[in-house]
Symmetry: D2
Subunit: 138 residues, 4 copies
């Protein structure tokens, strides 16, 4: 599954170069991730209450072209890898001219929300694991 | 004119109290303001290129109830005052239960984007002034 | 007591006007507040663990002059009002030329960190209340 | 040269996991980078006025342990690679227990601040290039 989300860059997200600041992209990835999981019926806020957290363990961003205030961008989000202890999501961001301006990858761990320890999702929550497994893009 | 905008609170906008951090509301007001001006055909990024800036000179926020990650809020935005040199916008934020959770007011100046000096919008850009005047809510 | 804190404005805090974005000031107030309470021996993170939270209930900012990236500012912080259920802090921000560029006021409630309900600090934690009472600036 | 900078994590930088949000680290790297360049006498805001910009083209972060509000961290910053068109900086972040909690790498281009085009720093500003060359850590 590839989910397409649209984001309107905010004024507060610009910097004095006149472009969207590079730190903002990780926040956009996260918004795209939230909506991705909402779509498949696994709401982040609900799984957090169930005891699952997904702390980031790695972040990679490639900046190809700038994004600008009030110029909508489109994020295409897909899970590219899933293991019992972690998963990797890729985000491809396009501008209005359909140019690929940014590529992001986030590696997230499955962790217990109390102890912060890594959990084996496949063992602890086999149903959630299975429903994610079905939508991984290879 | 009262414009209604919806915002999905981001994870990055939460703090360790488990609620949306108070500094985020000013950014939401600004997003609502951008969409408000887009709606009436006066795009912020375009008027900035024309030479008009609208620096904030005063901000007031009342926090009545918390907002939460992934729980959509609705912002009702209206211009409540306009003078040749400044204008005041009010933002009323509601949660899903239709409870008023936050009230914001921003006072913005009309300024020249090169010199940063206050301008008299009514004299310099009478058409823009007039089109805004027509939608002020008293 | 008036506490003086210095902050070096960050690049990420600028916007495309070339100045520090207005939403950043509330974050600076909060940093000044943290250091203020560290100084008087009442660390925020520790009182939070004790069960006290201080949610913001009102924020007021006046923007007089811009702040700029890499141009240090000085914040003078003082508690100007204390009641058993809330307190008000004022922040005066100065640039290198000793010009007052921003005035902030935050009203914070004393609340229980579990129930989020307002508490009477004077009754529940009389010693903390007393030590704060002694440093209020009138 | 390795520069050591200290940062006090802000409350606004926490998220509802009770830790510093992952998007904040890129902002800390940038603050460390600013102070690094201040130290060697090449102030970012001044070279920007001269016509040089350093847009980010790649960002990599490894998150090993969380950082917490009001718990100071130490950032050790060094330039690990310099070419005429770009440079790579590494940031190692330690907590109070001297544990390495985060490793960041940023690749920045030398660009013209008007045209946003890549410039050859060695040719256009040989003195700046040389002074940076001398402090690269291999």
């Amino acid at each position: 599954m590839i989910l397409t989300t649209k984001i309107l860059p905010r004024y507060a997200e610009t910097d004095q170069m006149g472009i969207i600041h590079h730190s903002v992209y990780a926040i956009w990835y996260e918004e795209a991730r939230t909506i991705f999981f909402n779509e498949i019926g696994i709401k982040y806020d609900e799984i957090e209450k169930m005891g699952i957290m997904t702390p980031l363990i790695e972040l990679n961003c490639e900046y190809k072209k700038p994004a600008y205030y009030n110029q909508e961008v489109e994020i295409r989000t897909k899970i590219i890898k899933l293991t019992p202890v972690k998963f990797i999501i890729e985000y491809d961001i396009f501008n209005k001219e359909n140019q690929l301006i940014n590529i992001g990858k986030t590696t997230l761990a499955w962790a217990d929300s109390k102890s912060f320890k890594i959990i084996n999702l496949q063992k602890k929550y086999p149903e959630i694991y299975k429903s994610i497994e079905e939508i991984v893009e290879n």
